[in-house]
């Protein structure tokens, strides 16, 4: 009987073939996600408050009537919205005498003005108050154009065009008004 050697060889066991095929790479993933909420911020108004000083002429042809009041500018530095589609709404309240007494004919206890907020969109947000001589209906509001991109800017609020209703004589006393600037998403559309 002849001695018989029977060898079984697995092809994968051949040196040089087996290890070259060992490319069983494994990949795993960790998804990372987050959100950034829509945010608008207005810088601190500088200077504020605004004191326009004496508003009536104390001599001359227009004595007792409103004098020329130089425009005032207040800056809101570093104001921003981090999304597209924002707008400014400015609400102005006329300067009205803090004296609640009724005014006599020929007199006014209110001073109107124009508030303009610039440097946000293509145009300004502008409103002019239209208070009556007696101080009625002192508040007006307007919304400016839409800013189509995220933006950071120094907003300039300019107060100008100070007038008295019917150019009446101004009653004596302290007057106060208010300008509110609102920066946020447009009412419709906008991102």
């Amino acid at each position: 009987m002849k001695r018989l050697a029977l060898t079984l060889l697995a092809a994968a066991a051949l040196p040089g073939i087996a290890h070259a095929q060992a490319t069983d790479t494994a990949t795993a993933d960790v998804g990372v996600s987050g959100t950034v909420a829509k945010l608008c911020t207005l810088g601190t108004p500088t200077p504020a408050p605004v004191d326009v000083g004496q508003m009536a002429n104390t001599s001359g042809a227009r004595v007792g009537k409103i004098t020329v009041i130089a425009p005032r500018t207040v800056t809101l530095p570093g104001s921003f919205c981090n999304f597209a589609g924002s707008a400014i709404t400015v609400t102005a309240t006329a300067l009205v005498s803090t004296d609640a007494s009724a005014v006599e004919p020929g007199f006014a206890k209110a001073v109107n003005y124009t508030a303009d907020v610039a440097n946000w969109a293509a145009g300004s947000a502008t409103v002019t108050t239209a208070a009556t001589a007696g101080g009625g209906s002192p508040t007006a509001s307007a919304t400016g154009p839409t800013q189509p991109a995220p933006k950071v800017a120094d907003l300039d609020v300019t107060l100008s065009n100070f007038t008295a209703p019917s150019d009446f004589l101004l009653t004596a006393g302290a007057y106060s008004g208010l300008v509110v600037v609102k920066l946020g998403p447009v009412a419709s559309g906008g991102d």
């Binding site: 009987m1 790479t25 494994a26 990949t27 795993a28 960790v30």
Partner: protein, 185 residues
């Protein structure tokens, strides 16, 4: 002559005895069995999610709207896997978080990308990569192991340290285990 006859007889006897001797000799057949185990790596827990939530700082201070790095830094997730060869390597690729809802170039002062560093740790080996540059970081030897592959985030930042554009941000960390080629025995 007598001697000669004996000699012949002895030869015959020897010849006659030969078949008996052949019956006691062993014969061996051999079957050799070979096999192999290829170098291999596998993840048994191949995915996880880090939801970092709001990424920007709140409030109204000077940093409001900018990246809150605490939301990403220190985040960890643990995957699980194994490699059966001593030459296995590991690499990690950090893919930056990108705003998926605002896809155009942001205006000056804003960022829509958040970068970070990802570190994968397995078998006491650390592989790292920063998302600032594309592609995976350098491979490190990880060897034969089975168990945790810990992924940690650190060093988050935005390109200009600017305000983050509002929206949803998404990125990912890819960890790759490569068996490599072991030397032939």
């Amino acid at each position: 002559m007598k001697t000669s006859i004996l000699a012949v007889a002895a030869v015959i006897a020897a010849t006659a005895a030969f078949p008996a001797a052949a019956q006691t000799t062993s014969a061996t057949g051999t079957v050799t069995i070979n096999g192999s185990v290829a170098d291999r790596c596998q993840f048994t827990l191949p995915s996880d999610v880090i939801n970092a939530g709001e990424l920007s700082l709140q409030g109204s201070g000077a940093t409001a709207g900018k990246l809150d790095s605490s939301k990403l830094d220190g985040q960890t997730r643990t995957l699980q896997g194994w490699c059966n060869g001593t030459a296995a390597t590991m690499s990690v690729e950090a893919q930056r978080l990108v705003n998926t809802t605002f896809t155009t170039t942001p205006p000056a002062g804003f960022d829509r990308v958040v970068n970070y560093i990802a570190t994968a740790t397995a078998n006491s080996a650390n592989a790292t990569d920063t998302s600032v540059t594309d592609g995976a970081g350098s491979s490190v030897p990880v060897g034969m192991f089975t168990g945790d592959v810990k992924v940690t985030l650190s060093g988050s930042s935005s390109p200009t340290s600017g305000l983050l554009v509002a929206g949803d941000y998404s990125g990912q960390v890819l960890v790759t285990l490569t068996p490599s080629v072991t030397p032939a025995p």
